[in-house]
């Protein structure tokens, strides 16, 4: 596996919404490359025709009664840990 370039790491870090300094990028590039080397053994395994496993319970289409349940938690309590608020609303930077 080729070493991940600084540009590639930067691109992935942006997708992951994590800011990395120039020094952190260098460290991440080497660490991530060695982790990818380590997991690359899966590439050498023949998996032709093998099913994918995304969960292990075997449950499918779990439904519940279509009933409205009242939330037991007061909205005020739900918002108690919100870092930035105004007039009872969550405040975010301008999106558009």
């Amino acid at each position: 596996m080729a070493k991940l370039s600084l540009d590639e790491i930067q691109k992935v870090a942006l997708l992951a919404r994590i800011e990395l300094s120039d020094d952190e990028l260098v460290v991440a590039s080497s660490e991530i490359s060695s982790i990818l080397d380590f997991v690359d053994t899966i590439q050498n395994t023949d998996t032709a025709g093998v099913e994918l496993t995304s969960q292990v319970t075997g449950l499918t289409d779990v439904w519940r009664e279509d009933l409205v349940e009242k939330c037991a938690i007061a909205p005020k309590l739900l918002l108690a840990s919100t870092p930035d608020m105004q007039d009872g609303y969550v405040k975010v930077k301008k999106v558009l």
Binding site: L15, I32, I35, T41, L59
Partner: protein, 483 residues
């Protein structure tokens, strides 16, 4: 006052029923113990003294009224900081949740609360459970009670250390790739990871949703089972839960003799000797040279370290500084606020796993990593099923070595390798327990044996562990610990 050190659940229950001690006295004893000894061990993140005493008082009122009490009523316990606890700070050992006070409790915490158990402290762990030593906590390291220079294991290191140091009679942990069993092994205690789905994950901070399991850390398999039976069961708030009775026969004693295969990998001499001493009246044990021929461990570990970071990168998107949690000051726009918040408040291993997972799921790499790893997961399940066709249980050491020195594994890949013998149980969602099986002669440190069963065979696995503990004394050596 009777000696309250290292009580089992049943012993504490009997003292409460006989009124030799009150629930409040028992709670105060444990809080006192934490106060005196925790500065050495540093297993605790938050002590919940007032809530604990309130709960204990309720139990005392019930006892005074002459009503019968359940086995867990008045029993002090600790919980990993992954479990939401209403009104009690819950951090996942991350700075991004430093001031987070949940508005509700996890289902398992509710269940224990209703059973009358007394939560006395939230304990340390690797940040978001990412790690195998508790050194990735954003607060402080935790010391192994057997040797303060060594790690307690992880990620439920605070749970295992708190049970070993007797800061609670049991603890709740989470196990995504060995995070209950490995620290249990390092700390000489019993740790049980149930079948995936039999214990609710509602209100448990998510790491990797198709792997995460909740289970007890205790001083014996008997105690672990008492806790497990209270926390297990279908939960309408977690659609991946399975009722225990769906898969687990409720008869406590397995019928007839059980067959197990023991894999003696590498230099686990201590474990082999321990296994050789197991009384064969319940269990026929056949020893094989290596597990690697039947279950490709390296491959399982590699698939695990693709799938788990992928699920992590998806689950941890929520920590964006908007609805709750810490938020960076001085950002210029929304994207900048996300980037700065996550960079400032997430620790290095959490950042690494988010980047790996994002990479594995990104366009162009999905097939090579995520899809391929999901196929390898199928191969591992098939390999295990084959072993279970002719065996009730797989026995294998929990770890290759005893607890390592603090700071000795700074390379992330070296740390991942400590999960070699535990992750395959999570890939397959099968139940697995780690029990103490001996002590490594040069260091005097405990080693663990894993007992792994088929999905739904939780009670059978616990029965085997109880059988071994009824005829051995490894799990009682904790009482000789001098802290």
């Amino acid at each position: 006052m009777p000696d309250l050190n290292y009580l089992s659940i049943t012993e504490a229950h009997e003292l409460l029923v006989a009124k030799k001690i009150s629930a409040q006295e028992l709670t105060e004893f444990y809080i006192g113990k934490i106060r005196n000894l925790n500065p050495k061990i540093r297993a605790i993140l938050t002590v919940c003294e007032s809530q604990a005493l309130k709960q204990a008082k309720k139990v005392d009122t019930k006892i005074a009224s002459g009503a019968e009490i359940g086995l867990l009523e008045g029993i002090p316990y600790t919980a990993k900081d992954m479990f939401l606890t209403k009104g009690i700070r819950t951090t996942a050992a991350s700075k991004i949740l430093e001031d987070y006070i949940p508005p509700y409790s996890a289902t398992v915490i509710e269940k224990l609360d209703q059973a009358g158990a007394v939560l006395i402290a939230k304990v340390n762990q690797d940040e978001f459970a990412h790690g195998g030593s508790t050194e990735n906590s954003s607060y402080h390291v935790t010391h192994n009670p057997w040797d303060l220079d060594r790690v307690p294991g992880g990620s439920s290191g605070g749970s295992a250390a708190s049970v070993a140091a007797d800061f609670g009679i049991f603890s709740l942990g989470t196990d995504t790739g060995g995070s209950i069993r490995q620290p249990a092994s390092y700390c000489g205690v019993t740790g049980f990871k149930p079948t995936y789905g039999v214990v609710s994950r509602y209100g448990v901070i998510a790491m990797a949703s198709s792997f995460d399991c909740v289970g007890p850390v205790a001083r014996s398999a008997k105690d672990a089972q008492i806790v497990f039976e209270v926390i297990a069961g279908k939960d309408s708030k977690d659609s991946t839960t399975i009722a225990l009775s769906d898969k687990t026969p409720r008869d406590k004693k397995p019928v007839g003799k059980l067959k197990a295969v023991f894999y003696d990998d590498e230099d686990s001499n201590v474990v082999s000797k321990g296994v050789a001493a197991i009384d064969s009246s319940l269990l026929n044990i056949q020893t094989e040279a290596s597990i690697a021929e039947l279950v490709p461990l390296e491959l399982a570990l590699a698939a695990y370290y693709v799938l788990v970071p992928s699920e992590i990168s998806s689950n941890l998107e929520r920590y964006d500084g908007v609805r709750y949690g810490s938020k960076a000051k001085d950002s210029k726009d929304l994207l900048d606020s996300y980037m700065k918040t996550r960079s400032e408040f997430l620790g290095p291993e959490v950042v690494r796993r988010n980047i790996i997972g994002t990479y594995a799921l990104s366009a162009g790499y999905y097939d090579a990593y995520y899809k391929k790893a999901m196929q390898v997961r199928t191969l591992i399940i098939q390999a295990l099923n084959k072993v279970f066709e002719s065996n009730d249980a797989i026995l294998v050491p929990t770890t290759l070595e005893p607890a390592f020195k603090l700071g000795s594994k700074s390379d992330p890949v070296e740390m991942y390798k400590t999960d070699l013998l535990t992750v395959f149980a999570n890939l397959a969602g099968v139940p697995a327990i780690s029990i103490p099986i001996g002590f490594e002669p040069t260091t005097g440190l405990p080693m663990g044996l894993q007992i792994i069963g088929k999905q739904g065979d939780d009670i059978k696995i616990l029965a085997i562990a109880k059988h071994i503990q009824s005829d051995s004394n490894w799990h009682n050596k904790l009482k000789e610990l001098k802290l």
